[in-house]
C-alpha cells in the first residue's frame, strides 16, 4: 500500500530558481540560502521517496483571472514548466502519476472536498523552485509528482483549518491506494512577505518562528490562525503559508523535526524550510 513517510515545507521564491538556473548559488547573496539546503538534498537522497505530493500555488500562469479554483488537483501524465514571461525554466518536465491522481481525486470528492481536476496543467515557479531546492539540477526529476494548486492570490484563500483537514483527507486517499509507494508531501510558499503597495518588503521573523513552532508541535491550534493575522503580521502575500497546513495535515500528529532553516532575504521574502518525519 502507499504511505506517507515525511513532509517538507519550503518557500518558492522565484529568484531562487533564477539563481540555480544561472549558476550563481554560491555568491554572497544566494550562497547562505543554498547552504541551508545542503542538508536537505543529502536527506532527500537518503529518503528516496517514490513520489512527491506537492502543494503549491499558481501565480496567474496556468490560471489567470478567468478561472480561479480554490483547490485544483493535477491528474495529468506530465506537467511542462510554464513560460512566466521570460521563457520556461530550463528544468525537466515534471512527470505525473495518473493512477494515484485519479484515486485521490475520487477519494477527496467522496470525502466532501470538491476539488477541481486538471488533466492538463503547466506549472510555474511555485512548483519548480521547491523541486530545485530539494533535488538540485538533475537531467530528470527522480520521482513523479502529484501537484495540488491552491488559490492564495485572490482573497480569501482557503482557511488554515480547511487546508489542515484537506491534508488529512489526502492522507486517507494515499493510504488506500494499493501500489507500494513511499510518498513525501511538500507544502510550499511563504514565509512572511509583502510584494505590493507601500508596505512592500515587510518581514516578521518572530512571527515566522512562532508559525513554524505551532505547525510542528501544535497544528490543531496553529491551523486556527485567522486570515487577518496572516495579512497583518506576515504580509499580504504571507497568506501563502496556509498551504503548509495541507502538508501538515497529511502527516502524523507527532512528527520529528529533522531540519529547520530560515533566512532573510531572498528578493522580497523570508525563506523558511522544514523537514518533518512521521514518528
Amino acid at each position: 500500500m502507499a504511505y506517507i513517510s515525511s513532509g517538507v515545507a519550503c518557500s518558492h521564491v522565484p529568484a531562487l530558481g533564477v539563481a540555480s538556473d544561472k549558476g550563481i548559488t554560491g555568491d554572497d547573496y544566494y550562497g547562505p540560502i543554498f547552504k541551508g539546503f545542503e542538508y536537505s538534498r543529502a536527506w532527500m537522497e537518503a529518503e528516496k521517496p517514490d513520489l512527491v505530493f506537492l502543494v503549491y500555488n499558481d501565480h496567474c500562469t496556468a490560471f489567470d483571472a478567468r478561472i480561479i479554483p480554490t483547490f485544483a488537483l493535477g491528474c495529468a501524465s506530465e506537467y511542462p514548466p510554464a513560460d512566466e514571461g521570460w521563457g520556461p525554466r530550463p528544468v525537466p518536465v515534471v512527470k505525473g502519476h495518473r493512477g494515484l491522481s485519479a484515486h485521490i481525486a475520487q477519494s477527496l470528492v467522496l470525502d466532501a472536498f470538491d476539488i477541481t481536476i486538471m488533466n492538463e496543467m503547466e506549472v510555474d515557479h511555485g512548483l519548480t523552485v521547491p523541486m530545485t531546492m530539494m533535488f538540485g539540477q538533475p537531467d530528470a526529476w527522480p520521482c513523479p509528482v502529484v501537484p495540488l494548486a491552491v488559490n492564495v492570490v485572490q482573497y480569501p484563500a482557503p482557511l488554515g483549518s480547511r487546508c489542515y483537514a484537506l491534508g488529512k483527507a489526502i492522507r486517507k486517499a494515499i493510504e488506500s491506494y494499493p501500489e507500494d509507494l513511499k510518498v513525501c508531501v511538500f507544502g510550499t510558499g511563504g514565509m512572511s512577505h509583502q510584494l505590493q503597495h507601500q508596505r512592500a518588503g515587510l518581514i516578521n521573523s518572530e512571527w515566522d518562528a512562532r508559525f513554524m513552532d505551532l505547525l510542528v508541535n501544535d497544528p490543531d491550534q496553529g491551523c486556527q490562525i485567522e486570515h487577518i493575522e496572516y495579512l497583518r503580521e506576515a504580509g499580504s502575500e504571507g497568506i501563502e503559508l496556509v498551504m503548509w497546513y495541507v502538508m501538515r495535515g497529511a502527516l502524523n500528529e507527532n512528527v520529528e523535526e529533522k531540519h529547520r532553516f530560515y533566512h532573510v532575504p531572498a528578493s522580497n521574502t523570508a525563506v523558511g524550510h522544514l523537514i518533518l518525519e512521521n514518528r
Partner: protein
C-alpha cells in the same frame, strides 16, 4: 456605502479581494496577456490599439499607460498581474517594490538585506499617521 472590512486598517496594503478582483478583471487580463512574447510585440507595435482590446476604465487605462504602480493596485490590479506589465518595461519584482514603496530600488534592496521592513509600527494605519 462601502462595507467595512477587517483588513481596511492595515497600512500601505490593498487586499486583492473579490471586490477588487471584480473591478480589476479586464485590467488584470491585459497585464497577464503580456506574459507571452507575441502579445508583448503587439503591445509594443501599437500600445493604445492593443490596450483598447481590453474593456478597462479610463482610469485603469491611464494608470497602465503611465506605469502608476500603486494606483493600478487601488483600481483593482493585483501584483502578480501588474508585475507582468512591469516586466514588459524591464522592471523586475524587487525594482517594482522599490517604486511602490517610494524608496527606489537601491534603498529598498538595502532595507531587505538588512532584514526587511519591521512589523513594528506597520500593523495599523493609525501608526502611519504620525509620520
Amino acid at each position: 456605502m462601502a462595507e467595512q472590512k477587517p483588513y481596511d486598517d492595515i497600512p500601505g496594503t490593498i487586499v486583492f479581494d473579490s471586490d477588487q478582483a471584480a473591478k480589476g478583471y479586464h485590467l488584470n487580463q491585459f497585464c497577464i496577456s503580456l506574459r507571452l512574447q507575441v502579445n508583448r510585440d503587439a503591445f509594443k507595435a501599437d500600445p493604445e490599439g492593443y490596450i483598447d482590446q481590453y474593456a478597462m476604465t479610463a482610469d485603469q487605462r491611464e494608470a497602465a499607460l503611465n506605469q502608476e504602480w500603486n494606483r493600478l493596485l487601488e483600481l483593482g490590479g493585483n501584483i502578480y498581474y501588474t508585475s507582468k506589465l512591469a516586466a514588459y518595461h524591464g522592471i523586475n519584482f524587487q525594482e517594482l517594490a522599490g517604486l511602490m514603496t517610494g524608496k527606489g530600488s537601491t534603498a529598498y534592496r538595502a532595507m531587505m538585506v538588512a532584514g526587511g521592513r519591521s512589523i513594528e509600527g506597520n500593523r495599523y494605519k493609525s501608526e502611519w499617521q504620525d509620520d
